[in-house]
């Protein structure tokens, strides 16, 4: 992205941010609360429109596209606070993101024979996903009735069902037990190996994040303050002084 700006009532939440996320990498984005990280993710994923600047994904410009079209290009975002469909079951939540579902067309929906085979294949994939999240036995349960940690896992699992090329994860381990946090990152590493998914991750648990990511951007007051490998960031005096406070 190049010189991306996003303001709210005069306050520049994202101020001329330029950065590149390398394909197939695990890249971290850190910074104090209110530094503009989540706004940046919202702008990249099309949930909010950038005031100015250019955003490219796999060589094509995506700024200005609505979020469903950004998703269609393979760039998928998970939310900081899980935004599950609470009136639906765990299984239905996982089945929603798959692209090109024939039965989603209102003219196909009443004719089961058109979409039933695709639905069965999709259910099998959803079952595998829920199994990997240790939530298969909860498939019939309402998404409103599962624990906070399970909601977080379901949110991540749901984004993966969209077969993303790049995942924007906003605090994927918030509210999750420390051991689970490492499991989530291990899972990301596996997915990167298997499917070459690129991960761009906002995370406050720096001890976990720095263990796994290749590169880190530090954001402060809407700007990129520093960037580098985890070691370079840890050794950066500017970051230590302005962000880490020591």
């Amino acid at each position: 992205m190049v010189d991306v700006v996003k303001s709210f009532e005069g306050l520049r939440a994202v101020d001329k941010v330029s950065l590149t996320v390398k394909g197939g990498s695990l890249t971290g984005l850190i910074g104090p609360n209110g530094s503009g990280k989540s706004t940046l993710f919202n702008v990249v994923s099309g949930i909010q429109k950038a005031d100015s600047g250019e955003i490219y994904f796999l060589g094509k410009r995506i700024d200005g596209l609505p979020s469903y079209r950004v998703f269609g290009r393979g760039l998928v975002k998970s939310f900081q606070d899980p935004r599950l469909f609470l009136g639906m079951t765990v299984l239905d939540n996982v089945m929603i993101p798959t692209k090109n579902q024939l039965g989603e067309k209102p003219y196909n929906a009443p004719i089961r024979s058109v979409w039933i085979d695709q639905e069965i294949d999709l259910a099998k994939k959803a079952g595998q996903m829920l199994n990997s999240l240790a939530m298969k036995n909860l498939f019939k349960q309402s998404a409103a009735e599962i624990s906070g940690g399970q909601m977080k896992l379901l949110e991540i699992g749901r984004t993966l069902m969209g077969q993303p090329k790049m995942l924007l994860l906003d605090e994927p381990t918030a509210g999750v037990a420390p051991i689970k946090a490492r499991e989530i990152f291990e899972q990301m590493l596996r997915m990167r190996e298997e499917s070459s998914i690129t991960f761009f991750i906002i995370e406050h648990r720096l001890e976990v994040l720095f263990e796994y990511v290749n590169y880190v951007y530090v954001m402060h007051r809407g700007k990129i303050l520093a960037e580098g490998t985890p070691n370079e960031i840890l050794e950066s005096a500017t970051v230590a002084e302005l962000y880490l406070g020591s």
Partner: protein, 342 residues
Amino acid sequence: MVNIISLVITFTSFFGIYAILSISLNLEYGYGGQPNFGKVAFFAIGAFVAGVMASRVLPLISGMSVTDPLGPQGVEIRIAISSTRPIETTVTFIMTLVLAMIVGGFSGYIFSYPALRIREEWFLAMVLLVSGEIVRIIVRSYPPIVGGYQGLAGISNPFRWVGDATKASLMYAGLILTVALSVYVLADRLVNSPFGRLLKSVRDDPIASMSLGKNVQLVRAQVLTLGSALAALAGALYAHHIGFITPDDFIPIRTFDIWVMMVLGGMANNRGAVVGAAVMTAIDRATAMMAVELGTYSTFIEFNYVRYVFVGILMITILMHRQKGLLPERPVRTPAYEVMKG
């Protein structure tokens, strides 16, 4: 003395029409989360289409010329055609139902278009409420459509040609019920499919749905078009049942009635929508009958208005003690659940 056959005919006909309305609102709001506060407009559009078709197209395809389609001559001619020409009457009636759905669906899309781009659903509700009143006021003030405030008479029962009035009414009540059943089956198939899942995702969290690749604006337009087409179908059936339409039949309180049916029966449950329609029809018919019966004894109670008291009490009771309605929401049923069990 109450005539049982006439009671059955009236109850069945109104129940069928109300069930279609309730199911259509349930699709829009119960499943899709789109608050249509202008529901009556689409019901009215269906009735107006029926009026235009009966007064202009029926004489035209019967090869009869009418100089005054909205006046007494027009009424006489269309009643004469309906009584003697089954083919022309049936063809016009089928065309009426199809055209009502097309015009209703198109209007649903056009009226909601300005509001669909706004993320706040209640803005859509206000736009549709106002649109409904605009439609009614225009038709009321412009007589060439269906006679303005004086309305239009002689929209015959499509089975009038059988001769016996009771038999014709029974046949039409049966037809209305069959159409309502078909709408129920269609709605049930729609919601128990990936489309139903999509509707619920838009209802529960449109931003999350959009970020997961769903074109929320398109889905909202689709469900409002579909719901409006079904409401217009109900309106056309209603016009042929009552035989007379006036724009004053389609005041905003009718929208409230449809909401009561849906909330009472249970949102996002088609069976609930049908149960709600049955309860409302029972209240409607019982109070209408009492109004006639008690009217003969010159009581000081006007039962036509007692209906509103009943409905109000019922609504408050439901909202206090059974917020999910008589039949609560059910999950989307697709073969995916069988796969997971196996």
